[in-house]
C-alpha cells in the first residue's frame, strides 16, 4: 500500500508526467518564483517549529523558577541540602527526595545495565535466528506497558514477595556484614528504595536493551568475522571488538534508561513508601522528587508548600539536564579518542 501511494505522489507532482496546468508553469521564471515562495514558506515553518521548542523549554524553566522563588527566598540555598519536610510547621527542604531519586535510579542502573547488555549480546551474537524476533518484540512490548501497570504489579506482587522472602534473606546475610551491612538492615517493609529500584530497572531495561541491540548491530560484519577468523572467542569479540566500537551508542542507551528512571512517577509512588526521610538502609521507605509532587500537590495548602513542590520540580529538571550534559560530554570525549 505505502509504496504504491508514494509512486502515485511522484507521478502527480513530479515533472515526468506534466498535467495540463503544469504546462503553463513551464516557463522557468514562474517556476522559479513558485519554488522560491515554497522554499521561503518551508524555511519559515521549519524555523518556527524549531524555535517553538526553545520557547516552550524557556517558558517551562521560567515558570518553574518563578514558582519556586518563594521557597528559595524563605529557606535559601539550604533548601537543597537540608533534611526537613514538615507541612504542619511550614518547613520544607529537598535533600530527602533528591536522595531517594538518586538512590532508586542508581539501584535501577546497577540492575538494568548488565542485564540489558547481556540480552543485547545474546540477541546479536548468540541467539538462534528464529528466536531473535520473538525476544526482540517481547522487549519492545515491555517498553510499551504503561507505568501505572508497573506500579500495580510492584505493589500487589513484588512488594509482598520482597517482604516475605527477599528482604529477610538480605537482612539475615548481607545485613550482618560490617560496612556494607548498613545498607541491608532494619525491618522488612516490602516497599522501599530497593523495591522501587527493581521496578525502575524493569522499566528502564527495554529502553537500554533496544538501543544497545541496535548499536551492536552496526558493527560491520567484516570486523566481527575477522575477529572470529583470528580465533577469538565470542566473549573476546564482544569485549574487544563490539563494545569498543559502540561505546558512544552504549552511553546513549544508558542515559536514556537513566532519564526514564529519574523522572518516573506513578510506578515509584506505589512502591517507594512515600516518606520524607534519609535512611542508610536500601530497604527503608523513602520518597522521590516526582513521587512527592504527585502525592502532595493537590493538598499543598499554604503558598510556601506549593512553592517548595515547584522548587522540587526545578531541581529535578536541573538533575536531568546535568545527566544529559554529562552524557553529551562523554560522547564527545569518546569521539575524540
Amino acid at each position: 500500500m505505502k509504496t504504491s501511494d508514494a509512486s502515485d505522489d511522484i507521478a502527480a507532482d513530479g515533472p515526468a508526467v506534466p498535467g495540463p496546468e503544469a504546462v503553463a508553469d513551464r516557463s522557468p521564471r514562474r517556476h522559479q518564483a513558485r519554488t522560491k515562495f515554497g522554499d521561503r514558506l518551508f524555511i519559515l515553518l521549519s524555523r518556527g517549529s524549531a524555535s517553538l521548542v526553545v520557547v516552550v523549554l524557556g517558558g517551562v524553566l521560567v515558570t518553574l523558577a518563578l514558582g519556586a522563588l518563594p521557597a528559595f527566598r524563605e529557606f535559601g540555598p539550604a533548601f537543597v541540602w537540608a533534611d526537613r519536610w514538615s507541612p504542619a510547621k511550614d518547613i520544607f527542604s529537598a535533600a530527602a527526595p533528591i536522595y531517594g531519586t538518586l538512590v532508586t535510579s542508581a539501584i535501577a542502573m546497577v540492575i538494568a545495565v548488565p542485564l540489558s547488555f547481556g540480552i543485547a549480546i545474546f540477541l546479536t551474537e548468540l541467539c538462534p535466528a528464529p528466536l531473535r524476533r520473538p525476544i526482540g518484540v517481547a522487549i519492545e512490548l515491555l517498553a510499551g506497558i504503561p507505568s501505572i501497570i508497573y506500579g500495580l504489579w510492584g505493589f500487589f506482587v513484588l512488594a509482598p514477595l520482597m517482604q516475605s522472602f527477599v528482604q529477610p534473606a538480605l537482612i539475615g546475610t548481607l545485613g550482618n556484614l560490617p560496612g556494607i551491612g548498613l545498607l541491608f538492615r532494619g525491618a522488612p517493609y516490602g516497599v522501599g528504595m530497593l523495591t522501587a529500584g527493581v521496578v525502575l530497572a524493569i522499566m528502564a531495561l527495554p529502553f537500554i536493551t533496544a538501543v544497545t541491540r541496535d548499536v551492536f548491530a552496526t558493527v560491520p560484519a567484516m570486523l566481527r568475522e575477522s575477529a572470529y577468523g583470528v580465533g577469538m572467542t565470542t566473549w573476546e569479540v564482544v569485549r574487544y571488538i563490539v563494545i569498543p566500537y559502540c561505546r558512544i551508542g552504549l552511553v546513549g542507551g544508558i542515559m536514556l534508561g537513566l532519564g526514564r528512571a529519574l523522572g518516573e512517577t506513578m510506578a515509584v509512588t506505589f512502591v517507594i513508601g512515600n516518606s520524607h526521610r534519609i535512611a542508610a538502609s536500601l530497604m527503608a521507605p523513602a520518597t522521590t522528587i516526582s513521587a512527592s509532587i504527585a502525592n502532595e500537590f493537590t493538598e499543598a495548602t499554604t503558598p510556601l508548600y506549593t512553592a517548595s513542590l515547584i522548587a522540587l520540580g526545578l531541581i529535578l529538571s536541573a538533575i536531568t539536564f546535568i545527566v544529559l550534559g554529562l552524557a553529551k560530554w562523554m560522547i564527545q570525549r569518546s569521539k575524540l579518542h
Binding site: A187, V191, E299
Partner: protein
C-alpha cells in the same frame, strides 16, 4: 440531498442535546473536597436528585483541594475535615458549618489477631506512630491485651502520603494525648511522620495495610467496614474500652459544644463520656458569603444542605455517619443569613 438533510437533522439534535446538557449542568450543585464525607454525600446526592431533579457534582479530591477550589471560585462549596481558622475565613469572605460527623479507626494486619481483638490506648498509639514501640509483642501492647497471643512481628506504620483531613483528626488526637507529639510533630493534614510508609488516599492506606504483614494504619470507619479489615478497640478519655460503632461516634459527637464555638470550630477528638469513641471527626462545608456571582447556585446549594439536615439522617446512619443534631442545624441555618447577593439573602428557610 437526503444525506445532507439527515446530516443537518443529526447535527441539530446533537446541538439541542448539548444545549440541554448545559442547562441541566447549570442547575447542578458543584462542590469539592473531603474524601471522608464522599460516601454519604453521594448517597444524599442520589436521593436528592430523585426527589428534586437537581444533581450534585462532588469531586472527592481531599480537604485541601476543596478549600483551594472554593477559594478560587471554581466550585460553589468546599468540604473539609479540618476547620478553617477565623482569620482564614474572614480573609476570603467565607463561612463554614458542620455537615456530618463520623469516626476514624486504627486498622491492622497482624498474624493470628482477628478484627476487633486488639485493644490500644492513646499513649500506646502515640508510641507506635512515633516509632518507640517497634514490635507487636511489646510489653505496653501486651499489658492492654491479656490473653491475646501477640507475635514477635515488626510493626509497619502506614500513614497518608497526601494531605488529608483524616490525618488532621488523627494527629490532633495524638497531640491531645501527648504533649511531646504536639511539640515535635503537631496536628495537620500532612505532618512529618517519624516512621512508616505513606500511601495515597483512604484506599491506598487500606490496601497497603492489607498487603503488608504487621501493618497498622488509620482510616475512616466506612472503608474498614467495606474492606473487612482488622480494626482496633480503643481506651477512651474516661478509661473505658470502646468499640467503633455508630453509637460510640454519636456519643463523642453529642459532647461537642457547637453553640459555644465561633465559626463552628470544634474538633471532637478525645471527648469525655464513658461511651465516646476517642477519634471522632466532623466535616465542614465552606462557602463564600458573597453570592452575587451566581445567586441561583448558592440558593441551590443551601437548599440541598437544608434538605440534608431535615431528611438525610437515615442515609447517614446507614453508612455509620452521625447526622448533625437538630438544635445545631438550626444554629447553622441562622448563620446562612450572611450569604447574600447584594442585599438579598441567597436562602430563606421555608417554614
Amino acid at each position: 440531498m437526503t444525506v445532507f438533510k439527515k446530516l443537518l437533522a443529526t447535527t441539530a439534535t446533537g446541538l439541542a442535546g448539548l444545549l440541554l446538557a448545559t442547562v441541566v449542568q447549570a442547575a447542578d450543585i458543584s462542590g469539592a473536597g473531603s474524601s471522608f464525607i464522599y460516601p454519604v454525600f453521594s448517597k444524599w446526592g442520589a436521593a436528592y436528585k430523585e426527589k428534586t431533579g437537581v444533581a450534585l457534582n462532588y469531586q472527592s479530591i481531599g480537604s485541601g483541594g476543596g478549600i483551594k477550589q472554593v477559594e478560587a471560585g471554581t466550585v460553589t462549596f468546599g468540604a473539609s475535615d479540618k476547620p478553617l481558622s477565623d482569620d482564614e475565613l474572614a480573609k476570603n469572605g467565607m463561612i463554614q458549618f458542620p455537615m456530618v460527623m463520623g469516626g476514624i479507626v486504627p486498622m491492622y494486619n497482624i498474624d493470628g489477631v482477628n478484627p476487633g481483638e486488639l485493644v490500644l490506648d492513646g499513649q500506646t498509639l502515640v508510641h507506635i506512630f512515633d516509632g518507640t514501640i517497634t514490635s507487636w509483642n511489646d510489653p505496653a501492647i501486651a499489658a492492654l491485651n491479656k490473653g491475646l497471643k501477640l507475635p514477635a512481628q515488626a510493626i509497619v506504620v502506614v500513614h497518608r502520603s497526601d494531605g488529608s483531613g483524616t490525618t488532621f483528626n488523627f494527629t490532633d488526637y495524638l497531640s491531645k494525648i501527648s504533649p511531646e507529639w504536639k511539640d515535635k510533630i503537631g496536628a495537620d493534614t500532612a505532618v512529618e511522620w517519624p516512621v512508616g510508609l505513606g500511601a495515597k488516599g483512604s484506599e491506598g492506606v487500606a490496601n497497603t495495610v492489607k498487603q503488608t504483614a504487621g501493618a497498622i494504619g488509620y482510616n475512616e470507619y466506612a472503608y474498614i467496614v467495606q474492606n473487612k479489615l482488622g480494626f482496633a478497640k480503643l481506651v477512651n478519655a474516661a478509661g473505658k474500652v470502646v468499640t467503633p460503632s455508630l453509637d460510640t461516634f454519636g456519643s463523642a459527637a453529642s459532647n461537642a459544644d457547637w453553640a459555644g464555638a465561633k465559626n463552628f470550630h470544634v474538633v471532637i477528638t478525645n471527648q469525655p463520656g464513658d461511651a465516646s469513641w476517642p477519634i471522632a471527626a466532623s466535616t465542614w462545608v465552606i462557602i463564600h458569603t458573597d453570592a452575587s456571582k451566581d445567586p441561583d447556585a448558592y440558593k441551590g446549594a443551601l437548599t440541598f444542605f437544608d434538605w440534608i439536615y431535615k431528611n438525610g439522617k437515615q442515609d447517614a446512619a446507614a453508612l455509620d455517619y452521625v447526622a448533625i443534631p437538630d438544635n445545631v442545624s438550626k444554629l447553622v441555618e441562622s448563620s446562612w443569613s450572611a450569604v447574600k447577593a447584594g442585599d438579598q439573602p441567597a436562602f430563606t428557610a421555608m417554614q
